[in-house]
């Protein structure tokens, strides 16, 4: 049985439609990440699942039961907020146990559950402190503890790591992954950080303008982006997108007379004369000797940046910008023209008008 079903959820504020029919079905134990830039509707969707906002249409079912009109406390959910949302005047112990206290769980039982959860999150030494005496990372652990202790059917996370610094964010990300693997909980997690999405999710829903652009596993979203938007949003540095046109012989890049052979699996999908966007991930490019035996881009190198683990090369092909990620010790001079090859599989093709990926 699905732990969570979202069926044709709509939300309008006056004339503005922020959610335009969202459908997601989530199995028990799945980790769904709602990924998108701000204003895409991901937080609204989360609030609708939580019962903090009302849907204008559609249905939400948790454990098979429709929860529309059900009070948040009766939905069998717990939520972790970006701002932690701890009660500042209550101790960590009471913060974690607050949900149980409000549900009338006896003190002894509550104490036991709080202690167990605190141990799991390694914050048992902080139980008697107030939130104001904790660091950002500790507060986030308490907020997660407050959700975990209730053992709800679905956990909701609203950008929980955005207020943490980069190092702590990575630590907490790993921690969350560990918790999910250990407890097998069902999670819906909102973020605009594609790395968080890629690393944590069992499935990602990339959202844009109130719609789901693509719903799939991290591998699917990364390897086979369904739209140009998804291709550009997931991956860092973002996928190279080059304008071109499909001809009978292959792909011709704008501003360049060089042809790229059309991979076999696209042969029937792309009509000749069609304007296309050609997508190649920076990490799929490799430096080669210039010959015509393999598809290659001739790039005039403009900037070379060593980030440590890799060398990021930026240049131009016929006036269009291209980025490539190369091994760190690659010798490359600015001002030269270099050939960058890629595998057929690494080539993504999108319709220039609809921005949808061509099927394979």
């Amino acid at each position: 049985m699905s732990a969570l079903e979202i069926e044709n959820i709509r939300k309008t504020y006056g004339a503005i439609e922020t959610l335009k029919g969202i459908d997601i079905s989530l199995d028990s134990g799945e980790f769904l990440v709602l990924l998108g830039s701000s204003g895409c509707g991901k937080s609204t969707l989360l609030n609708i699942i939580a019962g903090l906002a009302e849907a204008s249409g559609g249905d939400v079912r948790i454990g098979g039961r429709s929860v529309l009109g059900v009070h948040p406390k009766d939905r069998d959910i717990a939520m972790v907020f970006q701002s932690y949302a701890l009660y500042p005047n209550l101790s960590v112990r009471r913060n974690i146990g607050f949900g149980l206290e409000m549900r009338g769980v006896p003190t002894a039982e509550r104490e036991k559950a709080v202690l167990e959860t605190a141990k799991l999150l390694q914050i048992e030494n902080l139980l008697d402190r107030k939130p104001g005496q904790l660091s950002g990372g500790q507060r986030q652990r308490v907020a997660i503890g407050r959700a975990l202790v209730r053992k709800p059917q679905v956990f909701l996370f609203d950008e929980p790591l955005s207020n943490l610094d980069a190092k702590l964010r990575m630590e907490m990300r790993t921690e969350l992954k560990r918790l999910h693997q250990m407890l097998g909980t069902t999670i819906v997690y909102v973020t605009h950080d594609q790395i968080e999405a890629m690393t944590l999710a069992t499935r990602i829903a990339v959202m844009r303008n109130g719609r789901i652009e693509q719903l799939g596993t991290p591998e699917e979203v990364y390897d086979h982006p369904a739209t140009l938007y998804v291709a550009g949003f997931v991956g860092s540095p973002p996928m190279n997108v080059l304008d071109g046109v499909a001809t009978g012989e292959g792909l011709r890049l704008d501003g360049s007379d060089r042809l790229i052979a059309l991979p076999v699996h696209f042969k029937n999908a792309v009509p000749s004369g069609k304007r296309v966007k050609i997508g190649i991930r920076p990490e799929a490019l490799r430096l080669v000797e210039d010959d015509d035996r393999q598809p290659a881009l001739k790039v005039a190198v403009e900037v070379v940046e060593l980030t440590g683990p890799e060398l990021v090369v930026t240049g131009r092909v016929g006036g269009q910008r291209v980025t490539a990620c190369l091994p760190p010790r690659t010798k490359l001079a600015v001002g030269t023209t270099q050939a960058f090859a890629f595998d057929d599989d690494a080539l993504h093709l999108f319709d220039a008008e609809t921005e949808l990926a061509f099927g394979r």
């Binding site: 406390k73 970006q82 005047n89």
Partner: protein, 294 residues
């Protein structure tokens, strides 16, 4: 520039203001202190030095003690009622409903009225012959005959307190409303998900945010209520049978009606001291609130 000459310069720049403060605050205060040790009348002789006689007589006198009790009654009851009404109004005005903005604006009105206008208004409402209160109460059957609300010692103070509450609860409501809007949305949402009902939510989630601002409002309003003069002067002049004679009214009567400047001054200084204690409490509170927010 060296530290010493900086300090000198600072004092030089402060000097004009200090001079003004000495002239308008220091000198009258010193003069009042001097006056309080004499038996001076308001007009005529400068009076003779009588030591602490005035203070002894004042404090041991029944007028002072009775006025102190009346003032305390007025301050405690009206401020308590204002706090309760103010918080309830703020909670209501913090809800989403149609016409909220208009209602928020209207609520300020009683507070924005000059006290004299408010007092006159309530005198009309309490009027024993054609007052609205009498009319309303007899029409709904709660009252058999018209009463003189301000003319009976048993009801005069209570009537004043009602009038004062009506005027001043909007200030508390305003402060409470501002504090309510500072309660983070996420925390309210978290308490909803955690299953806190309206009372638990108020107690554990909202009250902590209200407590600081409300304490400030409480002390400020207590100081004001302790000094109350104008509303009482317009409505009852301390009567009937001195049942609404608060300390400020007593000071006025002593110094101006009975023209006993010396003993009036001593009384005024005692009131000042009492208010200063409240003000010190306020200052300590503000420091504490500022500290806890840091």
């Amino acid at each position: 520039m060296s530290g010493t000459s900086m300090t000198t310069r600072a004092w030089l720049l402060l000097l004009p203001l200090l001079a003004v403060m000495v002239a308008v605050i220091g000198w009258p205060l010193a003069d009042t202190v001097g006056l309080s040790f004499t038996d001076a009348k308001l007009v005529g002789t400068a009076g003779n030095f009588v030591g602490i006689d005035n203070y002894v007589k004042t404090i041991s006198g029944s007028n002072f003690q009775r006025s102190l009790i009346t003032t305390a009654e007025f301050a405690i009851i009206s401020v308590f009622a204002e706090m309760v009404l103010g918080v309830l109004a703020a909670l209501l005005l913090n809800q989403q409903f149609y016409g909220r903005t208009v209602l928020r604006g209207l609520m300020i009105l009683p507070w924005a009225l000059p006290t004299v206008v408010n007092a006159t208004l309530w005198r009309l409402i309490y009027n024993p012959e054609y007052g609205a209160l009498n009319a309303a109460l007899t029409q709904i059957g709660l009252l058999d005959a018209y009463r003189s609300w301000l003319g009976e010692p048993g009801t005069a103070l209570a009537s004043l307190i009602v009038a004062d509450c009506w005027k001043n609860f909007p200030l508390v409501a305003l402060i409470a409303l501002a504090a309510l809007q500072a309660v983070p949305r996420d925390i309210t949402a978290a308490s909803l998900v955690d299953g806190a009902g309206p009372f638990s939510r108020f107690r554990f989630v909202i009250l902590p945010y209200l407590a600081g601002p409300l304490m400030v409002a409480l002390v400020l309003r207590t100081i004001e209520a302790f000094k109350v003069f104008d509303i009482i002067w317009v409505m009852t002049r301390g009567g009937p049978a001195n049942s609404t004679r608060t300390l400020s009214i007593l000071v006025y009567q002593e110094a101006f009606s009975f023209q006993r400047a010396g003993s009036g001054a001593s009384l005024a200084l005692i009131v000042t001291l009492l208010v200063a204690v409240l003000a010190a409490a306020y200052a300590a509170l503000v420091r504490k609130t500022a500290g806890s927010n840091a």
